[in-house]
């Protein structure tokens, strides 16, 4: 089955119906492979043994199956979307995108099915390189080149950490297969396992864009073509989460409490930093990219809660928190890829994704707007959509952890819960801004009225919006599935941790409040219908603007909408603003006023800028060695040879 997926790669390059059909087919295959992994028995097989020593092994189990299914789902939406979307690209870009997208998706599937370090790293590198190729598609713009370079550096720092991780494992006689890790790693000393965790957080965290390894994401994701952004934000960062889950829950085993607390702290910081910067963005795609950081943070909080519960020996709570994290993986894939696709449609139809230039799309692009609104409510964690279900589960696990625990655990869990609540509130504000300023209100730019996109570009966003509602209304199935996967992973542990835990009945059933939502909704609709006839028919009149005409100039912009948040969180943003007045002869009537405001990205400024300067300075220093004289270089060679001989001869 996998072979047939792989076989499709050779069909690419010719642009025809065939290619799109194959892409859709490939997505369906990935999806069914994932379902097979989820509901069928786990299996693995050795493809080939390199030099008789390192087997290249592939296989699927429930965990891989879950992520494969997520991948297949998003892939299906993006593949259909690509039918029309790629037609708008320039010819050279079309070739590049058409060739790289299938390779990118296959490499992600390969990472998920790899069952040994060597094939995992090969697939990982393939995933990084193909996605780099997709980010750099519009390479004629300097901004894109810079973003791609940053992405390349970040992804290779991560890969370096992963190679180091697997090298350490091999050095301790654990070989390269995942099966050996699952049995061997828990027996290693705690200090070494802690080191492995930290290396893993750097390696996987730099791909998942956990703060402070996030700087590349808001630059790189938005510059790719929109359906690729959907794949990258929707799935690729989840592949890194898969790696983290495999490492922490599959191999490292039960660890000290601070592991879990570190994960929770990283998650909360990521979610807050992500949403705070998202609020300041007025480019729709960059705003969405920042929200990916926020949602990865929520996922990591869930994983941290699961790790904490496992360290405390609370088996059922571990399964519940783990299920919350996995559920949020699926949910984020659903709403974020849908939002990116809708943003791509907006960009396609109106030529920009700058919120300050959009507005009024609800009237000309009703379907895209409807999808965007539903998905916005889902990502803001509002009932009855899917984001609510997983955020509710994550909050529940944190609150339950804080019961009858040591003060340190209470403090961490309670603060994390409050951090998530703040994140949720800010995300709500941010999506009111994004959909309110971008899609509703007056049109902010004169010119051609954007037209609704064709059906292939509606299929993805609308389908994913329907899925967001469906998953929100029936979250119980996914929650149960996540708990089963968690239990499966705990089997690999030497110590049985699934001790029975007395639980209050409601909170293991995340779906039950939603029936209330439906009931009340129906009641209110009936009421609305009954009240319709009490008053005369409604009329439409111009809006009130204090006597002056209401128009584009007076409408709230994205920047003004988030102004008070910018002021309240001054210490974080350190905003700078400049006000330039172009004066005329009349002192109080300037010809033009230009207002500009920027926020300070302190992680970029304090952490990466000094590192970059240091790197350049040391490079300048080393350049002194490069005199350009041939004799000097031969001298270096001989000197090195001498040193090596001394070292070897000893």
């Amino acid at each position: 089955m996998l072979a047939s997926v792989l076989g499709l790669r050779h069909q690419k390059g010719l642009f025809s119906v065939l290619q799109h059909v194959l892409e859709v087919l490939q997505a369906c295959l990935t999806l069914s492979l994932g379902l097979l992994g989820l509901f069928g028995p786990a299996f693995s097989m050795v493809l080939v043994a390199l030099w008789g020593r390192w087997p290249l092994e592939i296989g699927i189990d429930q965990l891989s199956g879950f992520f494969l299914a997520v991948l297949g789902l998003v892939q299906l939406a993006t593949a259909v979307y690509g039918i029309r979307y790629t037609a708008h690209l320039a010819r050279g870009q079309r070739v590049l995108v058409g060739t790289l997208v299938p390779q990118f998706t296959i490499s992600m599937a390969l990472v998920l099915v790899a069952r040994d370090a060597v094939s995992f790293l090969i697939a990982w590198e393939l995933m990084s390189l193909t996605s780099f190729g997709l980010v750099v598609v519009e390479h004629r713009r300097e901004k894109v080149r810079k973003a791609s370079f940053l992405y390349l550096v970040a992804t290779h720092v991560g890969a370096l950490a992963l190679i180091g991780l697997f090298a350490v494992l091999a050095a301790h006689g654990l070989g390269t297969t995942f099966a050996a890790y699952a049995h061997g790693v828990p027996l290693l000393p705690t200090g070494l396992r802690s080191f492995l965790l930290l290396v893993g957080i750097v390696g996987f965290g730099s791909k998942a864009a956990i703060v402070p390894f996030h700087v590349w994401l808001p630059r790189a994701h938005p510059v790719a073509p929109s359906h690729v952004s959907a794949l990258m934000s929707g799935v690729m960062i989840k592949i890194a989460i898969y790696g983290l889950v495999r490492l922490v829950f599959g191999w490292l085993g039960t660890g000290p409490l601070w592991w879990a607390m570190l994960l929770i702290a990283l998650g909360v910081v990521s979610s807050l930093v992500g949403v705070l910067y998202a609020l300041m963005e007025h480019s729709l795609k960059r705003l969405l990219a920042y929200h990916s950081i926020e949602n990865v943070g929520i996922i990591v909080v869930g994983l941290g809660a699961a790790a904490l519960a496992r360290s405390l020996g609370a088996g059922l709570l571990y399964e519940f928190a783990f299920a919350a994290a996995l559920f949020h993986v699926l949910n984020h894939a659903v709403f974020k890829s849908g939002l990116f696709l809708a943003a791509g449609s907006v960009r396609e139809a109106s030529g920009t994704d700058d919120l300050e230039q959009l507005g009024g799309l609800a009237r000309s692009m009703p379907w895209t707007t409807a999808a965007f609104l539903v998905l916005s409510m889902a990502i803001a964690g509002l009932p009855p959509f899917n984001g609510f279900a997983s955020e509710w589960m994550t909050l529940q696990s944190l609150l339950r952890l804080a019961h009858d625990a040591a003060p340190a655990v209470v403090a961490v869990a309670a603060l994390a819960a409050l951090g998530l609540a703040l994140t949720g509130g800010l995300a709500g504000a941010c999506f009111v801004k994004a959909s309110g300023v971008g899609f509703l209100g007056p049109r902010r730019r004169a010119g051609r009225i954007p037209r609704e996109v064709a059906w292939p570009m509606l299929f993805g966003p609308l389908g994913l919006a329907a899925l967001a509602l469906g998953l929100g209304l029936a979250p119980g199935a996914i929650a149960a599935l996540g708990m089963r996967i968690a239990a499966g992973l705990a089997h690999l542990l030497p110590r049985a941790t699934t001790a029975p835990l007395a639980l209050a009945a409601p909170w293991t059933r995340p779906d039950w409040p939603l029936y209330l939502v439906l009931g009340a909704g129906a009641a209110v609709l009936a009421l609305a219908f009954a009240l319709r006839r009490m008053s005369p028919a409604a009329v439409v009149r111009p809006a009130w603007g204090c006597g002056s005409e209401v128009g584009v100039k007076s409408a709230y912009t994205a920047t003004s909408f988030s102004k008070s948040i910018r002021q309240i969180f001054q210490a974080f943003y350190q905003p700078r603003r400049s006000l330039v007045r172009v004066e005329t002869s009349l002192p109080y009537l300037p010809a033009d006023v230009r207002y500009e405001s920027r926020v300070h990205h302190f992680i970029d400024q304090r952490l990466y800028l000094p590192a970059q300067r240091g790197g350049l300075r040391s490079a300048r220093f080393l350049r002194r060695l490069q005199s350009g004289s041939l004799r000097q270089y031969i001298g270096y060679l001989l000197f090195t040879l001498l040193l090596m001989l001394v070292a070897v001869g000893r």
Binding site: G360, A362, R363, L373, M377, A380, G381, L382, P383, F388, W392, L395, H403, D404, V410, A417, L418, G419, A421, L422, G424, G425, G428, F431, V432, K433, G436, L440, G441, A505, P506, W507, P513, L516, V517, A520, A523, V524, L525, A528, L531, M534, S535, P536, A537, A538, V539, V540, R541, A543, W544, G545, V550, S554, A555, Y556, S560, F561, S564, I568
Partner: protein, 298 residues
């Protein structure tokens, strides 16, 4: 069936709650003021009027009143009024209130007028800050109970001493949030239409007729819901007892009068000072939490 009765009761008395607060305020100002059932007359007057929609407004603005009302009705379903056994847990209502706020914030931007935009921006900002503060103020009970389910939380509240420091600190925190969430002084001023002071009202300026009635009724419902929530958490002795509803009604009345008095004594705070106000409530909740943890550890 109990749920249906409960939500119907709260919807029915919501305008009366608003009327009581307004009467108290009028008395405090030395006026006779309107009768307590004046809000019913206001609502029915609006229901008979013609709805006027601003040009260019979409289905978002037209459906927002109902969405807001439904969300708050869902929230008020999950309260222990007659009994705790069947009542759902406490996180859902908090999320439902966020949904109501989202709906109105979006509808305000749909009108495209600067006033509504201003109201939306302010409401969403204050809302984002209120959410963690509201969660923090119920945390002491959640943590003692080990569950967000009402039966366990009521047990926990009954188990604490009547004048225990945890209960008092948490009550103070809850009351401060109550003032903020019902859009009262010093956070918001419900009586003016002046752009310098208003938050919630600014979002509604373009609404008229029946939709406005639905929004107002929804806001009153939210007020009585929050009052009932505070009463159930802080003094749950009446729940599930014969004549318990009378006891609860007495508590609600006391809280509504307290709201009116507190609002009469407060001066409007600068909008950008609101975070400091909310931080007071947050600090109170955290101290209640810390006291609880310290008490449990001892």
């Amino acid at each position: 069936m109990g749920f249906v009765l409960q939500v119907s009761l709260l919807i029915a008395i919501a305008p009366l709650g608003q009327g009581i607060v307004q009467s108290v305020k009028a008395r405090m100002q030395g006026r006779r003021g309107p009768v307590p059932w004046q809000p019913y007359a206001v609502a029915f007057k609006l229901l008979r009027r013609q709805a006027v929609w601003p040009q260019g407004a979409t289905a978002v603005m037209r459906s927002a009143p109902w969405l807001q009302f439904a969300a708050i009705a869902v929230a008020s379903l999950s309260l222990p009024i007659f009994s705790a056994a069947g009542a759902p847990e406490i996180l859902l209502p908090l999320f439902a209130l966020a949904l109501a706020r989202f709906a109105l914030g979006l509808a305000a931007l749909d009108t495209g007028t600067p006033f509504a935009g201003l109201g939306s921006s302010r409401e969403m900002t204050v809302g984002a800050l209120v959410e963690p503060v509201l969660l923090a103020s119920v945390l002491p009970w959640v943590l003692v109970a080990g569950s967000t389910g009402w039966p366990a939380m009521l047990q926990a509240s009954l188990g604490m001493g009547l004048f225990s420091v945890v209960r008092l600190a948490a009550f103070a925190a809850l009351f401060l949030v109550l003032v903020a969430e019902t859009g009262r002084l010093p956070v918001d001023n419900p009586d003016t239409h002046l752009e310098l002071t208003m938050i919630h009202e600014a979002m509604l300026l373009e609404y008229a007729g029946p939709p406005l009635a639905v929004i107002l009724w929804g806001a009153w419902l939210k007020q009585i819901f929050l009052v009932a929530l505070v009463a159930a958490l802080v003094l749950p002795w009446g729940i599930g007892r014969p004549l318990g509803l009378l006891w609860a009604a007495g508590e609600w009345l006391a809280l509504l009068v307290a709201l009116g008095v507190a609002e009469s004594l407060a001066a409007k705070m600068r909008y950008l000072r609101v975070p400091a106000y909310l931080a007071t409530s947050f600090a109170l909740s955290l101290s209640a939490l810390a006291l609880q943890v310290a008490g449990a550890a001892r």
